[in-house]
Symmetry: C2
Subunit: 231 residues, 2 copies
Amino acid sequence: MTAANTPGVMDPPASLRERKKLATRRLLRRAALDLVAERGLANVTVEDIAATADVSPRTFFNYFPSKEAALFGGDPDRAAVLRDRVARQAPGEPALDAVREVMSDDAEAMAAELRALGGDPADWLRRLKVARADPHLRAAQAAQMAMIERAVAEGLAARLGADPETDPYPGVLAAAAVGVVRACMTFWAGSGGTVALGQLIDLAFRALGDGLPEHSALRTSTGTGRKDVHR
Amino acid sequence: MTAANTPGVMDPPASLRERKKLATRRLLRRAALDLVAERGLANVTVEDIAATADVSPRTFFNYFPSKEAALFGGDPDRAAVLRDRVARQAPGEPALDAVREVMSDDAEAMAAELRALGGDPADWLRRLKVARADPHLRAAQAAQMAMIERAVAEGLAARLGADPETDPYPGVLAAAAVGVVRACMTFWAGSGGTVALGQLIDLAFRALGDGLPEHSALRTSTGTGRKDVHR
DNA sequence: ATGTAATCATGCAGAGGATGCAAGATTTTA
DNA sequence: TAAAATCTTGCATCCTCTGCATGATTACAT
């Protein structure tokens, strides 16, 4: 897969205005991650984030609808892209495989976005590990994922030709898949980025497809221990 | 299973103070459900809810930490109970079965709590169906479920003797299971309570255990169509 | 190059969510 | 019945988030 058709990896915009917008967007996100990592979400105000990024507090809300969105939120139209990809990815293949491919790409795109912020990604992840226990943070991430889950559910419904109103299957499948991805990302962040996220997600989806075997489902597959997930 | 050891179904407290507290708690919850159902979450303030329940706005926050908690929040110690039950339920059985039993009971307890509010539960569910599309509401429910998912993950880790820091499996299993239950509850609420929630959850877990078959996993099992889920 | 249109940053005002504190009312207990 | 514990309430306060107007910046067409 080349960079041209890799979703989430966007080429630098030619326009000056677009470049500036992307710059302040990353400044704000970086500021938010930095401050939350060292103080915790509750002790960081939007005013703090804006001041660190050298913009007015009002401008912050021109870029993110909420404080939490600066931490977790991706592109505004991310949901629509996911829905369409889930609906059309690899027609003929099992739905679970299609979702796995799309979500795996999406997770990698997220990691790439983090990498684009400039500093050492592992550095943030290590510091965020402290704040990770905050229930409010967990709730915020879950809320963000709810949007994605809805998009995936709609995409699945379209793919399977099902009516979400009368058929619970698309919703159930989407919930399981997105939940698994989120758990993998949480584990990945908790490990400080020392595990291969894509590989972990693949293993988790294999476990899903195999019926969630009793324990050690994420260890076997290739070798003996769970080291096959670590780099 | 008798009422004595059925969690979530608590006997009426003897104390006058406890009875009053439970009464206003239900009054507040009912008021919140009523108002949100007819106006939408964005057009209902805490002041409105408090006024409808005939208490001061400040008192509302003595019962619920947030507006959304009045809609979805259960007992404050619900998470701890779930964690312990998941850890100890049916030792020897597969973890997925244990989670299914615990979550099924929990869902039924939630439905029972709704029934205890006094009016017709199907009535609220029918009206809530309109508000169900609100992204903010979905996010709030996901945030609530994040707490439960964490509790289930901890219970699973204890049950399987796994370390959540180095083993992603408990988190992944909990995310899939809780996500599936939430999807079932959403579908159940969307149907206006016209489907058997416990049966739907059982079917969904069977699909999980069978590896999420390609479509129609929630139809087969017993008969031909998906009618076996409807009452 | 210059004027015009589109877009963006900012300040201001304001509604609403949420918490801490203290005083008064109610229930429990001795 | 008095004291202790607990609950309700009002008040002050901080924070999140939105709408609106204004000036600044960028884009575009002539």
